[in-house]
Symmetry: C2
């Protein structure tokens, strides 16, 4: 079976080309593929299928030819993923299936992407909703009074501002930051430092995953929260956001937030048949 490995600011994925929708992608197989030692390793799986050939994708087929079937590393379904979408579009381009721009169907709706002259890919992430300021108690107790906002885009985030580089670097994110009151369905928590004009540094704790090296919607939420706090709003001017896995840029326009960043294919893979057989039956 063919596959590939890729990443966007070190949010990494196993890509599975399955245009005909013939693959039986079980949670067991997803977990086996994402296992970093007994499998390939990844934060999730991106299955690439023609929208017409997928149960969840077919309603989008008239507008978006390809459906991104995104699965979390634990095998569960997910709506979409900003970093994953860039990698998905890069892979579509590599296979010669799309050109400069593409509309991609996801469980969260149709997402539009385009590639820039520098190789980066821009994805329209939708309109963020910035909620009231929330008290947050974090691993660094001193940050308790510096929460900026809760943001949904549409998944839930709480953005917390930190004072300096030392505080950002020193945060213990090995356990989930305490948020009080928590959002109804939990939240990702972004810790944000201002490095300059429209220039942020960020670390993120994702619900269900722990600290990751990048979170696409979290980057957008961070900009929405800081811009709102500074009274800037949707003025379409670019922000830079540094994450442990690299750098993205964000522009908040009247149509919503656009996320731009790199998308890297590391290797094409041919999965071993015996390994596949064992993975399917969890006899690994």
């Amino acid at each position: 079976m063919r596959a590939a490995k890729g990443h966007g600011t070190q949010n990494d994925f196993v890509l599975l080309p399955d245009l005909d929708g013939a693959l039986r992608l079980t949670p067991e197989l997803v977990r086996a593929l994402c296992d970093r030692r007994a499998g390939i390793g990844g934060d999730g799986v991106l299955r690439l299928v023609r929208s017409d050939n997928d149960e969840d994708g077919k309603r989008f087929a008239a507008e978006a030819e390809y459906f991104m079937d995104y699965r979390n590393a634990d095998g569960s379904l997910a709506e979409t993923c900003g970093n994953g979408l860039r990698v998905f579009v890069r892979y579509l381009q590599r296979l010669g299936l799309v050109g400069h721009s593409a509309a991609v169907a996801t469980r969260g709706g149709i997402m539009r992407a385009r590639s820039g002259s520098d190789g980066d890919i821009t994805v329209a992430m939708g309109v963020p909703r910035v909620l009231a300021d929330r008290p947050v108690v974090t691993a660094a107790e001193s940050a308790a009074r510096r929460s900026l906002a809760a943001v949904t885009i549409p998944n839930p985030h709480v953005v917390v501002q930190v004072e300096d580089e030392d505080e950002l670097a020193g945060l213990d994110l090995t356990t989930a930051p305490r948020v009080d009151p928590a959002l109804p369905h939990g939240q990702n928590v972004e810790f944000v430092l201002r490095r300059g004009t429209r220039h942020l540094a960020m670390r993120v704790h994702e619900r269900g995953s722990g600290e990751t090296r990048s979170c696409g919607t979290g980057i957008c939420a961070a900009v929405a929260a800081v811009a709102t706090a500074e009274g800037l709003g949707a003025d379409a001017v670019q922000w830079r956001v540094d994450v442990p896995g690299g750098r993205c840029t964000v522009a908040w326009t009247a149509d919503g937030i656009e996320l731009t960043g790199p998308a890297v294919i590391v290797a094409d893979l041919e999965l071993d048949e015996r390994w596949m057989e064992a993975a399917r039956s969890e006899r690994r």
Copy 2:
């Protein structure tokens, strides 16, 4: 560039076939390949070269046709690796270069391997040297008085016996166990539980790597220490050792210790050229 990913009891490796010795394998490229998010991911790299075509391998060429050039994930050279050797031999078999048995040249000398009817591979690991009992202070203070022995095979190990499953499962190995006095060049520390007659469970902390899911020489050291403590010695009877990544068997014969375990190829890879270029120049 062709490559493969494989593992032995979840000790995982990037395999690089380079029979002619043409590859310029820099520490930067090793680190990039072993990076679990921006690269392929692995505990190390196994470069496969004809002994004649390698500076370190050529002195073994008359006895062993292939040289296993093993590198740690940090890019440093290493002598050999028990789990890696099984995976290396499996890959040689897959490429049709060796049959049932093989002599492999390593920086630690020539290692002999053979495959069993069940697909497992047996490697002769050499003669262990069991040193005097040493006091060990571990993360679990209660284990302080239960160290069994220091063992070299030839890399240095300290073997500590634990009381029950709860103690084994509860050990905090996120930091290196304190060993007093430490061995001159540091040590791997194996925590060993007796599960039955000649049946052990083990967790290991490797110097330079932290806790791993398996350590081939550590498994051999654990058996040597327990067998010595029980007055059994080199009687060639099989022991089972369960590690977090699977199970190996060990037999201590007059010729030394033989380690038997699985060796799995997960996938063949074709590394992306642009990724390779960036990896070589560390512009990732």
